[in-house]
Symmetry: C2
């Protein structure tokens, strides 16, 4: 029986709590927000509905969930402590110092930070690694690991046992890997909206009707290797490389992130999705993710292979 401490219970912390709990871990949560139990409860409801639906075998019995009034109590006896507090470095430093003071010697201390490097997180003496997950944490396999190699190796074993896919980075870098790609798309999308080229809904359609379907199963480079045809990757590079120099993006500028742009995006998003509540959207997303992951489980491709391996490790009922 293993024990996880969840420090910070927002969408990400709640997702971690669900991932551990539904895989049989005991979970202790610390979050000063008086609404934390309600918010985590909502995430757990979603997770209990979606995660077991991935598998044709039963997950372990759920572990025990407790809410602790102080951080030290939550962290005591933990095998894994996961910090998911807001993305402010001085706050992360303060919380990590409290975790260091109370956590068992050998505990893995993971930070959900999307932007900070281990050297920044540990500047005041903590020994955390980056363990950066993706929302919804209870369904998406990816966790980026950055930090001390032997800690990352132990963390990777644990994550695999939770049905996740650890991707260990060999160098630390602002925002790791996936969020650099997301930031690129986000920045270009803001230009498209600001310049009146496309609405938020049109951009979403441009993604999910086309390359989003490719990327759910192969990613960028393998897809382009195929696009090169019989001549392969080198042909693709010869054909499309020069386009890098063309004025195809506005990425060399950073858009002004002002109230007008925020209002434009928020308004378009309301027009696109406002007819559904967040809970409805979450369930639609989760149903689709479960359906896609189950479909990929058949071929064993990508995330489907992770689900298949996890299922094979579960006891036959």
């Amino acid at each position: 029986m293993s024990r996880a401490a969840i420090i910070g219970g927002g969408v990400i912390g709640g997702g971690w709590a669900a991932r551990f709990l539904l895989n049989g871990w005991d979970v202790a949560v610390f979050d000063p927000d008086p609404e934390a139990a309600r918010k985590i409860g909502a995430v757990l409801d979603n997770a209990r509905r979606a995660l077991p639906a991935l598998y044709d075998r039963a997950l372990p019995s759920e572990g025990g969930l407790s809410y602790c009034p102080d951080l030290a109590e939550a962290v005591a006896g933990a095998d894994w402590v996961q910090e998911s507090v807001p993305e402010r470095l001085e706050l992360k430093h303060r919380v990590l110092a409290q975790i260091m003071a109370a956590a068992p010697e050998g505990a893995i201390i993971g930070s959900s930070t999307s932007g900070f490097k281990p050297s920044q997180l540990n500047a005041e003496g903590a020994r955390a690694i980056v363990a950066h997950p993706f929302n919804p944490v209870y369904l998406l396999p990816l966790v980026e690991l950055v930090g001390a190699p032997e800690v990352c190796a132990r963390a990777a074993d644990t994550l695999r046992a939770l049905g996740m896919f650890p991707l260990t980075l060999r160098k630390e870098i602002d925002a790791h890997i996936a969020d650099r790609l997301l930031e690129a798309v986000w920045r270009e999308s803001l230009w498209l909206v600001r310049d009146g080229i496309a609405t938020t809904e049109e951009i979403d359609e441009a993604i999910r009707m086309g390359f989003g379907l490719r990327w759910a199963q192969m990613g960028l480079f393998e897809t382009y290797r195929i696009a090169g045809g019989e001549a392969g990757m080198r042909h693709f590079l010869d054909q499309f490389g020069p386009a890098l120099q063309w004025p195809w993006t506005r990425l060399t500028d950073v858009p002004d992130y002002d109230d007008a742009l925020v209002a434009l995006i928020a308004g378009q998003s309301d027009a696109q999705s406002g007819h559904m509540g967040i809970r409805d959207l979450e369930r639609l997303r989760d149903d689709n993710l479960v359906a896609i992951l189950r479909a990929l489980k058949q071929s064993g491709s990508g995330a489907g292979g992770v689900v298949a391996a996890h299922e094979a490790a579960l006891p036959e009922s």
Copy 2:
């Protein structure tokens, strides 16, 4: 009975030929490459294997396929002429002039260009629209339409009848919408590879184990709306907007696209995918796409809704 002329028979032209043929259109191909029939045959083999597997009803009987020794013969009597020649503007101008001289008055003339705007394509008097599809054309629904509104409207009706999803742009712009997003990710990925942060395989895993799964069904903005939690899009924007100003990307520089970078990428791609031939990769991709599209057909989300609508329009067997 309708007739399409396919001018240029590479991976994209072949995919268009398959999309039309398998939906009952007669198709005439012109491509001076002596290997064109073999190459298009290979695309057709893939399409015949994959496209009918999307539906629980039978597609129409296949139309007739002919290879024409000259362009005028291919174009004669066509309802739709699709130009998919290499991405060089002077070549497009020459080919479009020949098409204009031979095509029926009311034919839709579509260009598969990924970069050029209608005003560039038509600078010498052609009346083409951009009809930009995504590989594999026989499976992915998205076609970006740009150009004369009444022609785009007619083209959209035809594409819907072929089971595709037309996205009509309200303004012309270099590289339309989707390829601007792809170019952003491509450019950032080149930096990551060049700087030794990640290999091509690691970048693909960072995509397909995480946000790729989200994007197959919802796209960027709707996903982020959910990430904002109960407070929605405006909360997400408040939280993450400032990151735009952080040094998270190297997008404000353009990487040198030199032989060393090409060799690095091609070598990593060989290490990642070289154990599979292009035909095997194509079939794996297609099997996965069919599985994902069928999964989404259940919920009717995104591309699954397009497949469901097309299926409903097919006669019951």
